[in-house]
């Protein structure tokens, strides 16, 4: 159960299966790689029993780094830690924090592989090898996708004008030993859960507050709706793709069944059956490719923007929070003035809140505009690619 990312790239046959997966970060970042001062990518990845090790490769001309080029090995948890450190940093409240990559989930495909191993005796050799190949291909696809997600996260951070200067990020890139970040324990998880509950309750309260700025007001309603829509669309596309894959699987089984029929039949029909089986096999390949491409181009895009819009929503929440804080501080200041007590303290806090709010507002505005252009570009790219791939596959089917 070890497979090497580098090896995958080299392996011709398998490469074909996963070639639809873009090596370079997909979609999201058209304007990211232009900056030569800091380039981050994942050059290699290793899948072990329950974790994936990514080799993060950095190329930089920034003075903070000791060397120009270096690589470290990182795990998924460390990515999460980096993300959390961004989120928790008050400084970055005004920015859309790039969404953390999803946990690598090989369980399903691994389980299938295991099941296959158990059922080895019950099927014919051809069936077995076929199934195995398929599962391996599936596994590889998931693997590549995971790697790509992690890479996108790093690239986003590296391209961000502020976040790229973050100390934690630099440590993450440079420190060549284990960061010894551990997964959250139960207590912390519980805390997180409560925090989330509070936040969402707060979010509802805060959302009711009428915004002073039309832009933000509009953005807020848009994002709320957009998020829901994307969520819906992503779920639907997922389902669609799953059923597409199921259909492809069925076709595959039909092909093999036809094949056995062809070998058993003694009349001249057998050749015909074999031929049809071949044809089905081809159809199956194309259908599963279509499904995979849809998955990549459509579902992944939607999923990414689901997370991204969540991040943007979080940003807006933070801003609203700040706004509410600011208003509260104003009220407190008024009260203090009326009572003529702790005026200074209230004033400073009001100043602080005001400042914070303004800062957030400013950066948030920029971020949201960025987000929009990015999104449009990404959608355009992906949709064009999707259309082209669909065309290609359909044409292949024709021939």
């Amino acid at each position: 159960m070890r497979s090497c990312y580098g090896l995958i790239c080299g392996c011709g046959a398998l490469w074909d299966v996963v070639s639809a997966l873009p090596l370079q970060p997909r979609a999201v970042n058209v304007d990211l790689q232009t900056d030569a001062t800091l380039q981050v990518d994942i050059s290699d990845a290793l899948s072990e029993r329950d974790k994936v090790k990514f080799t993060v490769h950095t190329k930089s001309t920034l003075p903070n780094f000791k060397q120009n080029e270096f690589s470290v090995v990182r795990q998924h948890e460390e990515f999460i830690w980096l993300h959390d450190s961004f989120v928790e940093n008050e400084e970055y409240a005004g920015y859309i924090i790039p969404p953390a990559p999803p946990r690598p989930d090989f369980d399903a495909s691994r389980e299938k592989l295991q099941k296959l191993g158990e059922g080895e005796g019950s099927m014919t050799k051809e069936e077995f090898t076929k199934m195995k190949q398929e599962l391996e291909a599936e596994y590889l696809a998931i693997f590549k996708k995971t790697v790509a997600m992690h890479e996108v996260f790093l690239c986003r951070v590296a391209a961000h004008p502020v976040l790229r200067k973050d100390l934690n990020f630099h440590v993450f890139l440079e420190y060549n030993q284990d960061l010894s970040v551990r997964g959250k324990n139960k207590k912390e998880k519980l805390e997180d859960f409560f925090k989330n509950v509070v936040k969402s309750a707060d979010g509802v309260l805060v959302a009711g507050v009428k915004d002073v700025d039309d832009f933000f007001e509009h953005e807020k309603t848009f994002l709320l709706e957009y998020h829901n829509r994307v969520k819906d669309a992503s779920a639907k596309s997922d389902r669609m793709i799953r059923s597409h894959k199921n259909a492809a699987d069925d076709i595959n089984r039909i092909a093999s069944s036809l094949y056995t029929l062809g070998t058993q039949d003694s009349t001249d029909l057998c050749k015909f059956f074999l031929k049809v089986s071949e044809l089905f096999e081809k159809t199956r390949k194309i259908e599963s490719r279509v499904a995979a491409d849809e998955d990549l181009k459509l579902a992944d895009l939607l999923k990414y923007y689901l997370r991204e819009s969540q991040a943007a929503k979080d940003l807006l929440y933070r801003r609203s929070r700040a706004l509410v804080d600011y208003e509260n501080a104003n009220k407190a200041l008024d009260k203090a003035r009326a009572k003529n007590r702790d005026v200074l303290q209230a004033e400073t806090s009001q100043q602080l809140c005001c400042h914070k709010f303004e800062k957030i507002s400013e950066s948030a505005k920029q971020e949201l505009i960025d987000f929009k252009t990015r999104r449009v570009a990404a959608f355009r790219k992906n949709l064009v690619e999707l259309a082209e791939l669909e065309l290609k596959h359909a044409k292949v089917t024709m021939t």
């Binding site: 639907k236 069925d250 069944s257 029929l261 039949d265 029909l269």
Partner: protein, 814 residues
């Protein structure tokens, strides 16, 4: 007797008639009876043949005896060679092909295996064709079997078909040889004939074995396994063969010399023969290795070959050639020793050719035959200068090349199956057109309300056939009428072994839904499915030549009002009775243990069962594909909706437009998937479901055959019992009862013959029907699947159109 009954494969215990014949034959032989069981063996090996022999003996004089002399060798060699072949090629498609090159071999061996039969027969024609046929026939037969048991069936047919040809050939040959007056030379002509024939036969056989050994190392053990049987058979068959020859010598002077010649030899070897007999038991495994071993001994063998004294050569060879040849020489028959001789050159040749070409089969076999003919022409001047003989090689050469050339295009045509299939289809279509009748089932209509509601279908028939009153007519039929028709037909024709096409099953659930009157898609789907199935069902019936003639079918198609079919309701008393009947049938089926006499049926039955299993599996898969496709279409629809929503939420106008376009495309895709699912259902799933049902019918016809057999067996048992009582009564000396029993015996005898005839008839019908079914199946499948694939292509084309329209939209996003 006990051993022979163990061995004899077919259950033909009618030994009475045989005994008569036996005693006649036994009378002719006295000097060299090996064992008394021999005569019985003979009978058991070819119990059905006595009438044949008679026919043969009567036929020769009838067929042109004078003609034969004019153009004898070419004629007689050509005929048996080409005749079996042409009949072979007809049957060829059904035979299993292991690989292309070996395919040719099968053809040739089979073909040649027949020709030596003929040749050998012709020598012994006046004796008993059948006895010699069996020993020669069986091994070669089984050699062919290695490549595909199927070929046996064609072979049988060939044998049947060629009986007259053989007889003619036999006559010709005997004429030739008898006309040539001087015995020694005469002998040699005969032997030369055989030599040539045997040479080619053994040639190809050994070639096969060589081929097997060289091509894949796994086959030989299997092959040797196969060989054990024929040899055991052969061993026990050999004595009768020999026995049979003795009377022939007595009657036909032409063989006298040969016999004498040989008898000196075998008598010397007689003591050795005992050993050899026992040797056979162990030697079986070695047999296959031996011919190969002989190939290595080639230079040694080569020398004796040239010698004109066949018997001596035979002995030489038998010493070297291994147990197989030993066995042959042990027989007091000249042919066998001759055969042993002839194996030598052939072995040499094949090995030489093999070493040369080393596995290039197509070259190989042509080479072999080329050399074989050369060898023959060398042999013949050496041994004999009779006018017929030089013509033999020249005659055989073209015929062999004709055979190969025939085999080649055939295998080529198999490769080009795909191209041919369309034409073939058309051809058969034309052929089918003689039942020029088209039936459509249309306009399902719900009649009545509630649980008494039923669907009525409009059955429209169009036909120019004179048996119908009008050219076009339409009747309304309800589903139970269709079922009733099937009941009637299967009752009438089922027992005769016809495959009656079954109607779609009753579906209580589906019908209830329709009855309840929910106008949802599933019930409409159900009705449509059923309608299509009924249409196909009727079409199958009217395309069946015998079923179309049935008055019930005509009535069903023509009469305005049909008496209500009774007993088709699933939940009625009749339905219950039917269930009980089915259960008892199943039980009796299990209890009947038919020892299958016909390999063809055994194989077919197996084939049908495995096909049935596969089809069932396939059907489940296709159904699940349909389900998934429907799911896909549903999901696509919901995705399209949410994409549209997303598009409306999007505030970038271009992107928003693109998204709504995408939504539209997805909407269309949904439709496409929906159509595809329907297509899957109707073109593919239904086809398979049909064939699952049809295979059930095929099995039913097999069962009917079995039942016929059982009836026959029962009658025979009863007869036996009666006979025993007769014997007892005879013993007890009760003449009054004896008369009664005798009458009964006569009655039962009539019954037995009647049932036997019934069984034979059913067997023949089933066989014909199954062949027809197979043909029909192949055609149907091809047509339907091509249809299906076309639909698939169309939907892909549609897909391309949609996405092409979408592409500029996506590109327009700024």
């Amino acid at each position: 007797m006990a051993t022979s009954s163990e061995r004899s494969p077919p259950p033909f215990p009618d030994s009475e008639d045989q005994d008569v014949l036996d005693s006649e034959e036994v009378g002719g032989r006295e000097s060299d009876e090996d064992d008394d069981g021999g005569g019985d063996d003979l009978l058991f090996v070819n119990p059905s043949n006595p009438p044949l022999t008679k026919m043969d003996t009567t036929l020769p004089p009838a067929s042109q005896p004078s003609d034969v002399l004019m153009e004898p060798p070419s004629d007689l060699m050509n005929d048996p060679l080409i005749e079996p072949f042409s009949s072979l090629t007809e049957n060829k498609p059904t035979s299993k092909i292991v690989s292309e090159p070996s395919d040719d071999f099968v053809d040739l061996t089979n073909n040649l295996a027949d020709s030596p039969e003929d040749a050998a027969e012709s020598v012994l024609a006046d004796v008993a064709i059948d006895t010699t046929e069996i020993p020669l026939d069986e091994p070669s037969d089984d050699f062919v079997d290695i490549f595909g048991g199927e070929t046996e069936a064609p072979r049988e047919e060939v044998v049947i078909a060629n009986v007259t040809v053989k007889a003619a050939a036999a006559a010709d040959k005997s004429e030739v040889t008898s006309d040539v007056t001087d015995p020694p030379g005469d002998l040699k002509t005969g032997s030369d004939f055989e030599q040539e024939a045997n040479e080619t036969a053994t040639d190809s056989i050994i070639d096969l074995s060589d081929d097997l050994l060289s091509s894949n190392a796994q086959k030989p053990p299997l092959a040797s396994d196969q060989f054990v049987d024929p040899l055991v058979d052969f061993l026990s068959d050999a004595p009768p063969a020999a026995d049979a020859k003795i009377p022939s010598r007595a009657t036909v002077d032409l063989f006298e010399d040969e016999g004498n010649d040989l008898f000196t030899e075998p008598r010397q070897t007689k003591s050795a023969k005992q050993q050899q007999k026992s040797l056979f038991g162990e030697a079986d495994e070695d047999l296959f290795g031996e011919p190969l071993g002989a190939t290595t001994k080639k230079p040694v063998i080569k020398e004796p070959k040239g010698k004109p004294v066949p018997t001596k050569a035979a002995r030489d060879v038998s010493n070297m050639g291994g147990p197989l040849q030993d066995g042959y020489t042990a027989e007091p028959a000249d042919i066998f020793s001759e055969e042993a001789v002839t194996t030598v050159p052939s072995i040499k040749k094949t090995s030489a050719v093999n070493s040369k070409t080393n596995g290039v089969h197509s070259e190989e076999d042509t080479d072999i035959f080329a050399e074989a003919t050369v060898e023959l022409s060398l042999d013949s001047p050496q041994e004999e200068r009779k006018k017929g003989v030089p013509a033999v090689p020249s005659a055989s050469a073209p015929s062999v090349s004709a055979a190969t050339s025939l085999a080649k295009p055939q295998s080529a045509s198999l490769e080009e199956l795909d191209d041919d299939e369309e034409e073939e289809e058309e051809e058969e279509e034309e052929q089918e057109d003689k039942f020029d009748i088209s039936i459509s089932v249309k306009d399902p209509e719900k009649i009545g309300d509630g649980m008494n509601a039923y669907m009525a279908y409009k059955v429209t028939t169009q036909t120019p056939l004179p048996m119908f009153r009008n050219k076009t007519f339409t009747v309304r039929r309800r589903f139970s009428d269709f079922l009733g028709l099937y009941e009637k037909l299967s009752e009438k024709h089922g027992p005769n072994g016809f495959i009656v096409p079954p109607p779609p099953e009753k579906s209580i659930l589906g019908m209830t839904k329709v009855k309840v009157g929910k106008e949802d898609s599933s019930s409409a789907d159900f009705v449509e499915r059923r309608r299509a199935a009924l249409e196909r069902y009727l079409q199958r019936i009217v395309h069946h030549p015998s079923l179309l003639q049935d008055p019930d079918v005509r009535e069903f198609l023509e009469r305005e009002e049909l008496p209500r079919a009774v007993g088709t309701q699933a939940l009625s008393g009749a339905g219950f009775l039917k269930m009980i009947n089915k259960a008892t049938d199943a039980v009796s089926k299990m209890t009947i243990k038919m020892n299958e006499s016909d390999v063809w049926f055994e194989e077919k039955l197996q084939e049908v069962e495995s096909a049935d299993q596969q089809f069932r599996k396939l059907h489940v898969l296709v159904e699940s594909l349909v389900v998934h496709r429907k799911e896909l279409s549903l999901n696509t629809a919901s995705f399209a909706k949410s994409t549209a929503m997303l598009g409306s939420a999007e505030d970038n106008t271009a992107l928003s437009r693109a998204l709504s376009q995408l939504a539209e495309v997805e909407d269309k895709m949904e439709q496409l998937h929906q159509d595809q699912a329907t297509n899957d259902t109707f073109n593919f799933a239904e086809l398979i479901a049909d064939y699952i049902r049809l295979l059930g019918s095929v099995r039913g016809s097999f069962d009917h055959r079995m039942k016929a057999w059982q009836r026959w067996q029962d009658a025979q048992a009863a007869l036996q019992k009666k006979r025993e009582t007769e014997a007892k009564l005879l013993w007890a000396n009760k003449p009054d009862k004896l008369q009664l029993v005798k009458e009964e015996i006569a009655e039962w005898e009539v019954k037995v013959t009647q049932y036997e005839r019934d069984f034979d008839r059913v067997t023949a019908t089933v066989r014909k029907e199954v062949v027809r079914f197979d043909k029909e199946k192949a055609r149907n499948f091809k047509r339907e699947i091509i249809n299906y694939l076309e639909c698939l292509l169309q939907s892909q084309q549609q897909l391309i159109k949609y996405w092409e329209a979408f592409l500029p939209e996506a590109k327009a996003i700024a």
